[in-house]
């Protein structure tokens, strides 16, 4: 096939009849990677994943006979890949992205110790675990590929490299299948599962405002919309660091290079608070920054979620963070406009909503083909133009997520972080997590959450009145509402990501602080009923102590004794 025309990342080539929709191609003398995205009798439209500068009409296009795929196997953890899964660590030393390079994404030289879990003659079917190796310190299962049923011909435990044969499977009507340490999977096709499960375990982000007010279960989906500088990236980084996921896939999709550099610098030095291991060991980065080709930005979230599905199939709880889905949507828009498709709202293609749905639907809690439980929790940042949430990407995303963590620019500029608005955020996952709190923390989480939200809402209403008459003119009861609400904001909702202690908060600690706040409020109301003035309550030493609880390490004797002091203080005022 030959190139007919070139328009930025979109080229046309003549169709000789041999090429298929969604097939990968090599374009021109530079051998750039492309994908067929439209097929007509006479020509094929190809989106090229690399810069096309210098490509000429009549240069040849070579069909590769497979769809856009990502290489899956041991060695992904701790790695960094571009939007089509190329290993950025293996690019040339001069530090800039070169074209036409496709190094093998995994470490082909590394020896693993393959522990087989099956033997010759065993009957196997798709998804079953043949055995495992240790990747970082995680069991990485070598699995029977989807669609395959047969009998194990040979299995080779012991020292293996990823490209070696680990096992052969005798098939009914075909040559034996060789199973290596890696395989390729088309990124746009979801990996099969046994069934979708209902969700009942909270995904703990370590951020109080999320875990307590707007929770999400393992397998849930959440969106983080917010204007520039509202804190989307910091929040996602915090979740990547401190959440209780087994594996984190961070997709830097059309955002800043320095943010990727920051992860690379920081994560290896931090420890997973639960396993005690370096955070980088559970993290995979897909980095397709804003200045890298937009076509590869479009594919980056699929590359990420395919890797997520791969580890889910082994029975892990994977969290995929995409920053930012708006940049992905803009890539769609740019490509759609080059194809001269008829736009829907604001130039976005009409299929924006269905693509978003397809992506978020790949998250969930599942029974895998091997019968294990695994989950994919998906959290996507949204960057609305002008911080206006009525724009198409935010609106469509809202249809497919059940937790909406709206970041408010005015909170951010007042340095109230995370700037999650308690007014417009929501979570529809209350049902899924409530039992966990009952069983594990022995609290009526729902009523605590309601109490906190009510105080905040009451204070919000008073805010308008204060603007007219001033705080001093409020009755004492209402002054207390404002005071308690401020305490909740400062002592509970706000969480500084850079604080050595408060950057994350265990659920047990969240409960204790919430209890102290609620007790303060009800006890003060009681005291005022008994005749105490607001001014007296406002002088209580307890206030400062409650505010500082979050900074005290937990569990610790200091935390307990501070709690005791707060209680004594409040009770003593009788």
């Amino acid at each position: 096939m030959k190139i007919l025309s070139i328009n930025g990342p979109i080229i046309k080539a003549d169709n000789d009849g041999s090429i298929r929709m969604r097939e990968m191609v090599k374009v021109g003398d530079f051998g750039l990677i492309g994908e067929v995205i439209e097929l007509q009798q006479e020509h094929a439209v190809i989106q090229v994943y690399e810069d096309t500068t210098g490509v000429k009409v009549n240069e040849k296009v070579e069909a590769l006979k497979y769809p856009l795929s990502v290489t899956l196997g041991p060695g992904l953890l701790g790695g960094i890949f571009d939007g089509i899964g190329r290993p950025l660590k293996k690019f040339s030393e001069n530090g800039f992205i070169e074209r036409g390079l496709y190094p093998f994404p995994l470490d082909g030289d590394k020896q693993y110790d393959f522990i087989s879990e099956m033997k010759k003659g065993d009957e196997v079917s798709e998804g079953m675990h043949l055995g495992h190796i240790i990747e970082m310190s995680l069991k990485h299962y070598i699995m029977v590929p989807p669609g395959v049923t047969g009998i194990i011909g040979d299995i080779f435990p012991g020292k293996r490299k990823v490209e070696d044969i680990f096992c052969t499977i005798e098939l009914d009507h075909d040559d034996p299948l060789e199973i290596r340490g890696f395989h390729k999977w088309p990124v746009r096709k979801k990996r099969p599962v046994n069934e979708r499960l209902s969700m009942n375990e909270p995904f703990f982000t370590g951020q109080r405002v999320l875990d307590f007010l707007f929770p999400i279960p393992r397998g849930g989906v959440a969106a983080v919309p917010g204007g520039f500088g509202a804190g989307k990236t910091v929040l996602q980084h915090s979740i990547a660091k401190w959440s209780n996921a087994d594996i984190i896939i961070y997709v830097g999709c059309g955002e800043r290079g320095n943010e990727i550099a920051q992860i690379l610098e920081e994560f290896p030095t931090l420890k997973d608070p639960r396993s005690g291991r370096s955070l980088m060991e559970r993290t995979i980065i897909i980095a397709n920054t804003s200045n890298m080709p937009v076509t590869a930005r479009e594919s980056s979230i699929y590359t990420g979620i395919t890797m997520a599905e791969y580890y889910r199939d082994m029975g892990y709880n994977v969290t995929i963070l995409a920053d930012s889905t708006s940049r992905w949507a803009e890539a769609l828009r740019e490509l759609s406009s080059r194809l001269e498709e008829i736009p829907a709202e604001e130039g976005y293609p009409a299929y924006l909503a269905s693509r978003l749905a397809e992506y978020y639907e790949r998250a969930g809690s599942f029974k895998t083909l091997s019968g294990k439980t695994g989950s994919i929790t998906a959290i996507g940042a949204v960057s609305p133009q002008g911080a206006d949430f009525s724009e198409p990407v935010t609106q469509h995303t809202k249809r497919f997520v059940r937790s909406f963590w709206a970041l408010d620019k005015s909170l951010a500029s007042a340095k109230h972080f995370p700037a999650v608005s308690w007014k417009i955020s929501y979570s529809e996952y209350g049902e899924e997590v409530v039992d966990w709190w009952k069983l594990n923390a022995n609290v009526d989480w729902n009523s605590m959450r309601t109490t906190l939200t009510e105080i905040l809402q009451d204070a919000d209403k008073l805010e308008n009145i204060i603007k007219i008459v001033g705080f001093e003119s409020l009755p004492d009861r209402e002054k207390l509402t404002v005071l308690s609400s401020n305490l909740i904001k400062k002592g509970f909702l706000q969480q500084n990501s850079y604080d050595p202690v408060d950057s994350f908060c265990l659920p047990e600690k969240q409960v204790k602080i919430a209890q102290a706040l609620i007790y303060f409020h009800s006890r003060s109301a009681e005291m005022m009923n008994d005749g105490d003035s607001f001014n007296k309550i406002n002088k209580s030493e307890a206030i400062d102590k409650i505010q500082r609880l979050k900074f005290i390490p937990f569990p610790s004797a200091e935390f307990d004794s501070t709690l005791d002091e707060i209680n004594t203080e409040l009770e003593g005022k009788q």
């Binding site: 000429k56 920054t289 500029s413």
Partner: protein, 457 residues
């Protein structure tokens, strides 16, 4: 430039574009030179190739081009600029040619002005701050080497004065390091541009600056290449010659308008306000050229300047810029009216990289909390101010009245600074504490007890 093919088959000319037919082997994206009937030349670039037709964008205007007598040369590569250390002190145009009437630049090395994206794996995260001597910047929106920190301003506001103060005062921790300022004028007035030159000249510091000029009456399409030429020069100085480079680009709004013109001539589907859907990616291809790289000593920091149409921060240009850059310095018309310089509105301003470049190891241990506290207090004091205009200052609680006083001291002493006065970091932090001390101790919730014990009492 090497040219290979020459054609006279111009089919169509419109806006800044033309179509040449019957072409063969023309690579996408290469540089072209159009020859007019009178022999003058206009530079251009291939925007698309469709069979035997090439769409060419002309940088220097399409006026006087005709279909019968004009011709076009196609080169074999994209536009390249010659780079050399002898560019220092010079005023150059979009193509790296002198505009100062002095001798031509002779360079052995040439570079594609589009550059290549930095491999994110090869970046190093920025940490070292650049001291500007301006309290509000050093204290609250600290500039870090390798950062892109734009100034969001409005027509008639003193953004050039601020940029110039920063450019001239900028100091590195280590005096032995080499530093250079690259100033890129895109469609700005001659007087504003030359002010930069004069000011460096007056201090005999011309060897610390390179200027690229596309002025208000120069061809608008050249605004699309001049920042790339300048950034390519910056990359040479930073990554090959170990300089700490500060690139000041003004005015991004003019750049975006040139981009919009091309886009509408090509009849592309616009997104907001007629700007093309790829405005974000296009701006990113400039801004993301800031940074530091593994194993290299130099850095590129950027201060893009943009005047917000109608002072509207939600306009696509500031909005998309804010989504790419690492913070922003927002100039306030109100503060400027009140004679405060630099009139920086700190609430919408932000330096995202400062947290990793300040504090114990870099400036002083209490700096991060101090900055957070000032922001929180100033933000609250603005609410109080609003309320007090309704209910009167007397009706405010005693604490709220303290906040008003804080805000007064902060604006008059901390923000406001004599031009040319260089504040040390110590002094900056000291004034900040002076303002905060007006507030009751309990209000200062961002500090640790130890910090309060040390600085508050």
């Amino acid at each position: 430039m090497k040219y290979r093919k020459y054609y006279t088959s111009i089919k169509k000319v419109w806006g800044p574009l033309m179509i040449v037919e019957g072409v063969e082997d023309v690579p996408y994206g290469v540089f072209t030179s159009i020859v007019l009937p009178d022999g003058t030349e206009r530079k251009g670039q291939v925007l698309a190739v469709n069979g035997t037709e090439a769409v060419v964008q002309i940088f220097e205007g399409t006026g006087d081009i005709d279909t019968d007598h004009s011709g076009i040369h196609f080169s074999t590569e994209p536009f390249k600029v010659g780079v050399t250390e002898s560019m220092k002190g010079r005023i150059l145009d979009a193509y790296g040619k002198p505009r100062d009437g002095l001798k031509p630049i002779v360079a052995k090395t040439t570079r594609d002005i589009n550059g290549r994206p930095i491999n994110p794996y090869h970046r190093t995260y920025p940490h070292d701050f650049i001291q500007t001597g301006i309290s509000v910047i050093d204290g609250l929106v600290t500039l870090i080497r390798g950062q892109k920190l734009p100034i969001f301003s409005g027509a008639g506001l003193p953004h050039y004065d601020l940029a110039l103060e920063i450019a001239k005062n900028a100091r590195l921790k280590d005096d032995n390091e080499k530093m250079i300022v690259i100033f890129v004028a895109m469609g700005i007035k001659h007087d504003d541009a030359i002010k930069f030159y004069r000011s460096f000249e007056a201090d005999s510091k011309l060897d610390k600056v390179i200027l690229f000029f596309n002025l208000a009456d120069d061809p608008p399409m050249e605004r699309l290449i001049i920042p790339r030429t300048a950034l390519t020069t910056a990359e040479y100085f930073a990554f090959e010659k170990d300089y700490q480079v500060l690139v000041i680009m003004s005015d991004i709004t003019n750049y975006c308008e040139a981009l919009r013109e091309i886009s509408s001539a090509r009849e592309e589907v616009p997104s907001r306000k007629g700007y093309p859907g790829y405005l974000y990616s296009d701006l990113a291809s400039l801004y993301e050229r800031a940074g530091r790289m593994r194993g290299r000593k130099g850095s590129i920091s950027q201060i893009p300047i943009l005047t917000m149409p109608n002072d509207d921060i939600t306009h696509p240009i500031p909005d998309l810029t804010g989504y790419i850059t690492e913070g922003q310095i927002v100039i306030s018309r109100e503060l400027n009216h009140r004679g405060i310089f630099p009139p920086v509105d700190i609430l919408p301003s932000l330096s995202r990289l400062m947290k990793d470049g300040i504090g114990k190891e870099y400036t002083r241990a209490d700096h991060p909390h101090l900055a957070a506290q000032i922001y929180a207090a100033y933000s609250y004091s603005q609410d109080v101010k609003m309320i007090s205009t309704v209910i009167g200052e007397e009706e405010l609680s005693p604490t709220d009245r303290k906040y008003l006083e804080f805000s007064r001291i902060f604006e008059e002493k901390f923000l406001n600074q004599k031009r040319g006065a260089y504040h040390s970091m110590e002094k900056t932090l000291e004034i900040a504490w002076e303002a905060l001390k007006v507030l009751p101790r309990r209000e200062l919730s961002k500090f640790t007890k130890e910090e309060l014990d040390k600085y508050y009492d």
